[in-house]
Amino acid sequence: MSDEPEEKAPPPPRDPDDDALRLAEALIFSSAEPVSPRSLARVLPDDVDADAVLAALRLRYAGRGVELVDAGNGVMFRTALDLAPRLRRVIEVPRRLPRVAMETLAIVAYHQPVTRPEIEHIRGTALSQQTLDLLLELDLIAPKGRREGPGRPTLWGTTPAFLAHFGLKDLRELPRREDLLLETAPPKPSPEAIPADLSTPDAPNDDAG
């Protein structure tokens, strides 16, 4: 294995050599967060194609204890899924997100940008401070400006960390709402979509405020 990059003339994109692989490996391995193609390209020699390097690296790590996966707008190394039960024996694992938090997250994911009253309306119950704190602390949701209108409520959306957390490349990888609606076998002819405002003015449970 040569440590030195070839310092010659050739300008056509090279096949990733070992040096490029080592560099990419080192950069991605040393980061706990996804590494964007841009950061990768910055450390690679100009004539090396970052995608080719990633493909080669992915192959090299396939089936290993640590694998290269897509996450958000980049790639990261993660331990292989099948090792989880044994790793959990020694790695301290935080508790899974409570159901309330998961549901809130799901609502934000589908309806973003969304206000707190809207979240509460959909779940039919108040959003607890605890849940909000938890999601914020884990950097799964973040404020995304304010809605123009009375009170200018804060809008919430998911973060890049949300994608990495669930191993998603993109929000479009989420199942389509329409498919889920069909799946749940509506009790009545299904409306096109749930209106944003299901106002039932007299309903005493309009506790969204």
């Binding site: 706990a32 331990t79 009790p187």
Partner: protein, 255 residues
């Protein structure tokens, strides 16, 4: 349905894994397996209340939510079962439909939540680098000097400097009685004859105000010394010059 005994720690009621009014309602509505608009709201409410009664350990805010839901259901029931007016019936149907929609939406949300939870979750099922290395090197050695702040700083310093002298207590330029007493004490012995008060003023007074102040100080001082017998005073006429001399042996007392 059962309440979990381990719920004590976080006071979450677990009904076969469900929590909260919408879940519960969803579950109940499902159990009925019919269109919500057509099901017996009464039966639904009764099941609902039974669940609440059965739940010994309900988190307070959860119970409050449920109460609200129960109230709504009761209202729904009343509208559907006792339609006094056609409008009311319509209201009731609309409310039932709105409820059905919310339940559907909730079901979507729950399905998505389950879908997310089933994915390999970072930090739970798959793990990232535990000891990441930071290749960034922060160079804070450079100093940002800009002409604007630099010039502003100079002006500010100059201003503050001049302002502080402006506010400094002014040196007392007024000739005090103490000063006059001292000066009279020094001079009086060396003067052989009557002299006007003005003679005893200090020489550096060029401002009329200061001069008048010094004169009155000297007058007071001379009166003070006359009372003590050190000097004698004399004034020939009203507003005339005041004369002063050391008290001597000759006893012309016409002060």
């Amino acid at each position: 349905m059962e309440t979990s005994s381990e719920a004590a720690e976080n006071l979450v009621l677990r009904l076969e894994g469900f929590e909260g009014p919408m879940d519960l309602l969803l579950d109940l509505a499902r159990a009925q397996k019919v269109d919500l608009a057509k099901i017996s709201i009464l039966a639904l409410v009764e099941q609902f209340l039974a669940v609440i009664e059965g739940a010994r350990r309900v988190r307070l805010e959860l119970a409050a939510d449920w109460l609200v839901m129960a109230a709504w259901l009761t209202w729904l029931k009343s509208r559907l079962l006792v339609p006094a007016l056609a409008d009311d019936l319509e209201d009731g149907e609309m409310a039932a439909e709105a409820l059905a929609e919310r339940l559907r939406e909730m079901n979507v949300v729950r399905t998505l939540a389950a879908w997310l939870a089933a994915r390999p979750v970072l930090g739970q099922d798959v793990f990232a680098r535990g000891a990441p290395e930071d290749h960034a090197e922060y160079d804070r050695s450079r100093i940002l000097l800009e002409a604007g702040p630099f010039v502003r700083a100079y002006l500010m310093a100059i201003r503050r400097g001049t302002r502080s002298t402006h506010y400094a207590p002014r040196p007392p330029t007024l000739w005090t009685v103490q000063d006059a007493l001292r000066r009279l004490g020094e001079l009086v012995g060396s003067l052989p004859d009557w002299m006007t008060l003005e003679t005893f003023l200090p020489g550096h007074l060029n401002n009329p105000t200061e001069r008048r102040a010094a004169l009155s100080s000297t007058l007071i001082a001379s009166l003070e010394m006359a009372r003590g017998g050190t000097v004698r005073l004399r004034q020939e006429e009203a507003f005339g010059p005041i004369l002063l001399r050391q008290s001597g042996d000759d006893a012309d007392k016409d002060a």
